[in-house]
């Protein structure tokens, strides 16, 4: 069998869990392996119990496993919490700093803190020692970690780099020497050079926005969306982006609309609570036909809910948000690479159709890193769909909201020519001025709604994963793609017959109907991270499809193949 290894780093917030996790993930990645990592954390800065989970394999992976091979325990609570997931796995711990009762042979003791002080001169290096020790235990080449440390601490100077490298080496040596031969998961002969990327959902959205030509970002911080704002802010200067932290989310989306009206590709990032505050401005985007891209990192609600966890429970809210009726577009990326391309696409759709596009992600995808094929930025073409200055100069009258067959009116920018551009949140005539007449109202409503029809053509049909015909069709949307595809693979290997119908282009739905034939004779199970089965309802309302069963999870945790398989068994679907 192909070696696959599952590592969890557990401990309190502030103990350096993320540092170890990221360093290990990158290390494996650099050596050409496939990595998948995910994070679980509480809404606090110090203390509590958090973890970082990594799965490494030499074949592509897109989900976490429920089973652990190596637990790096930074506190004794971690041992307690995750012992049961270990089954055949081992624990790496600093017994000098953490009292644990168990005297299991599975426990490998390395004095992280002591080694850190001896080599780096400070306990601060304990996490680097632990990283090194983990690799030592796995008999893994240390050079990859050294490369990672050099890259990570490049800005901090030689001294810090060397301290880290020394700490890593010492941890590595200690573990390797002390436990040589005990290691079950040697990757020693597998190492090659990678051309793949390791990237999280949030970073991929940020990268997609930059590739898609974002010029303006206004946001108010909110977990789990903040990472996208941070990413774009970090690269704003190079990419000519204005980034502004708004005083609240109302301001954020109104800023985006002001920027967009004036000509910038503009975006905001938020989570459900912030989106709630953006609702009125969403309608303004609809009414004034101002392009806007909204990144929504979902988390469990209602209200503050579980701020650091995951859910897919804002779908119908986003679909119907704001008074009145107007066209919008909803995309839900399934993986970081998909997030990259969809984000760039979102900007083109927003510009072409002059409407708001909402990218729906969630904490799970936001904070998970996947090994992906290198993104192809050349695939991304930026098209602004604006009138040119020549076109404008040749016009005697310019009508911002001219009635057209496809509902899309010619767009010009203020200051671009001698024609003034007028946008209005009231119902307005073709020039953009207030008009309350019934005649005008009907024409304008129909014009705006007409845009949806053409937009449908740009929406992708759902992907079918697995065989074309199967007994059971799983249905999913957005971030659950990874666990769902793995579920299909695992169960089909076991002799069951399953396939997956997965949606990333959520609204308006593509009008192709081939997939309806696929589900005609199978049992359909819609798998969602929410309690009411929102995507099922959407399919019912928008595609007139009746789903047989809902498989729902709403405890704040993402799906794993194991969870889905257990639930399918409980529901007697398999």
């Amino acid at each position: 069998m192909i070696p696959e290894i599952n590592i969890k780093i557990g401990g309190e917030a502030g103990q350096g869990i993320q540092t170890i996790g990221l360093a290990l993930s990158k290390t494996f990645q650099k050596s050409g392996l496939y990595v998948f990592s995910t994070q679980y954390y509480l809404s606090r800065v110090r203390g509590g119990h958090n973890y970082f989970q990594i799965r490494v394999s030499d074949r592509p992976i897109k989900a976490i496993s429920d089973r652990l091979d190596l637990l790096i325990a930074l506190d004794s609570l971690s041992v307690q919490e995750h012992m049961e997931e270990l089954d055949n796995g081992v624990i790496l711990i600093d017994r000098q700093s953490n009292k644990i009762h168990s005297d299991d042979k599975q426990i490998f003791d390395v004095p992280f803190a002591k080694i850190a002080e001896e080599t780096g001169g400070s306990k601060l290096y304990a996490s680097t020692v632990a990283t090194g020790a983990a690799l030592g235990l796995l008999c893994y080449e240390l050079e990859f970690l050294e490369a990672v440390l050099k890259q990570s601490f490049a800005k901090k100077g030689e001294n810090i780099i060397n301290n880290n490298i020394n700490a890593a080496r010492a941890g590595y040596k200690y573990a390797r020497d002390k436990y040589l031969g005990k290691c079950k998961y040697s990757f020693e002969n597998l190492i090659k050079k990678s051309q793949k990327m390791l990237i999280s959902g949030n970073d991929a959205v940020g990268l997609g926005a930059l590739a898609g030509g974002v010029q303006f970002l206004a946001s108010y911080p909110m977990t789990p969306s903040t990472g996208v704002m941070n990413f774009i802010a970090a690269h704003a200067d190079k990419f000519n982006v204005v980034v502004e932290q708004a005083e609240d989310e109302i301001s954020a989306l109104n800023m985006v609309l002001g920027a967009s009206f004036t000509g910038a590709r503009a975006m905001t990032t938020t989570s459900g609570g912030g989106f709630s505050l953006m609702v009125e401005a969403l309608g303004l985007a609809g009414m004034t036909e101002t392009p806007a891209v909204i990144f929504l990192g979902q988390r469990p609600g209602p209200a503050t809910g579980l701020p650091t966890m995951t859910e897919q429970s804002d779908l119908l809210f986003v679909l119907h948000a704001a008074q009145g009726e107007f066209p919008r577009c909803i995309l839900a990326p399934k993986t970081p690479d998909n997030a990259f391309y969809l984000t760039a696409k979102a900007f083109n759709i927003a510009d072409k159709y002059q409407l708001p596009v909402i990218i729906m992600s969630d904490q799970y995808l936001a904070d998970s890193q996947f090994t992906c094929e290198r993104f192809d930025a050349a695939e991304i073409i930026i098209d602004r769909y604006l009138l040119s200055e020549e076109e404008l100069n040749s016009l005697t009258v310019y009508k911002r909201y001219a009635i057209t067959d496809d509902g899309i009116s010619p767009r010009a920018l203020p200051g671009q020519s001698r024609h003034v551009v007028v946008a209005d949140s009231d119902e307005h005539n073709e020039e953009g001025h207030i008009d309350q007449s019934a005649y005008n109202r009907i024409r304008m409503m129909e014009k705006r709604m007409r845009k949806l029809k053409k937009l449908t053509q740009e929406m992708e049909a759902p992907e079918i994963y697995g065989p074309e015909e199967a007994d059971v069709t799983l249905i999913g949307w957005g971030s659950s793609y990874g666990p769902l595809t793995e579920t299909v693979d695992l169960l089909n290997e076991e002799g069951y017959s399953l396939n997956l119908l997965h949606f990333t282009h959520i609204f308006p739905l593509n009008k192709e109907t081939f997939w309806k034939n696929i589900i005609k004779n199978s049992i359909t199970v819609c798998v969602e991270n929410n309690i009411t089965g929102q995507f099922s309802k959407l399919l019912n309302a928008e595609a007139n499809v009746n789903i047989d069963k809902n498989l729902l999870r709403y405890d704040g945790m993402p799906f794993t193949p194991g969870y889905i398989i257990r639930a399918l068994r409980e529901k007697k679907v398999i």
Partner: protein
């Protein structure tokens, strides 16, 4: 030369005859003409209310957005194309009520825009509820016992936030108002111009006559608007005598200065450099 005719729009004005808004509309046009700015070089961002209708009555780029939300939209528009003259126009309810939070933070940002508040001390369009600046005791259908809350003093508030230009005009004195607006638009930074605007239909207390009897020009007694404490003191004057004019003016860095990407030209004119995206992608390998 830009003329009144350039700003003319052939349309019916939906304000009540005699409304103070007419004077404000005229003053805005005059100030822009004074400064030689053409309609297509101006963007007026307006709110919802009687005041918010203003850009429908003159030729100019217009973003008539939501009630209370002029300032974020205007700030972003300015950052996107700082070659435009950006002006916001909205009511006292809009700016100080629904939009209060944006006012505070826009003052802190200090973008180079002018914010014109038609302060009729009432909600006009919704037919006469108290606004944040309504006088204590004024009775309405909602405030049946009369207004209780301490009226908001927009000038004192702005000075407390170190707003870079703080002024008050009177819709009944078009010449003076035109001067203030001209100065406000010229000012490099955020300029708040609160305008006493009689609402002939709903505010029977603060009428043209009421204002006219009370207003006096700050500059008449040689007042110089450069001291924050003195400005604050003058801002507190309200009653038998109501000062109009520029209360406070300060040169400080504007928001646009804070963005290095805006240094050499408007954001929308910046070209993208495609090679850097490849570099950034590579950093994830």
């Amino acid at each position: 030369m830009v003329t009144m005719e350039d700003y003319h729009l052939d349309t019916e004005i939906e304000w009540c005859p005699g409304c103070g808004n007419f004077g404000i509309l005229k003053s805005i046009k005059k100030a822009l003409i004074n400064l030689g700015i053409s309609p297509h070089e101006v963007l007026i961002v307006s709110g919802i209310g009687q005041a918010g209708k203003l850009p429908h009555y003159m030729k100019c780029n217009t973003f008539n957005g939501l009630h209370g939300r002029t300032l974020p939209a205007a700030t972003a528009a300015k950052l996107t194309n700082h070659e435009l003259t950006v002006i916001t126009v909205s009511g006292d309810g809009d700016t100080y009520g629904e939009g209060g939070n944006h006012l505070i933070h826009t003052i802190r940002r200090n973008p180079n825009i002018t914010s014109i508040v038609h302060d009729n001390q009432i909600y006009g369009l919704t037919k006469g509820q108290a606004s944040p600046t309504s006088e204590v005791g004024m009775k309405t259908k909602v405030q049946t016992h009369g207004v209780f809350n301490t009226p908001l003093n927009p000038l004192a508030l702005a000075i407390a936030l170190d707003c870079s230009f703080v002024a008050r005009g009177f819709a009944g004195n078009i010449e003076h108002l035109t001067n203030i607006l001209t100065e406000a638009i010229q000012h490099r930074g955020f300029a708040l111009v609160d305008i006493l605007q009689p609402c002939v239909s709903f505010n029977k207390l603060n009428t043209f006559k009421w204002y006219a009897e009370r207003v006096y020009r700050l500059d008449e007694d040689g007042y110089i608007p450069d001291n924050r404490i003195t400005a604050f003191e003058r801002a507190l004057e309200w009653g038998e005598k109501i000062p109009i004019g520029v209360f406070y003016k300060k040169e400080k860095a504007i928001m646009e200065d804070g963005f290095s990407v805006l240094k050499d030209g408007a954001l929308i004119k910046k070209q993208k450099n495609h090679s850097i995206i490849e570099e950034l992608i590579d950093s994830f390998i």
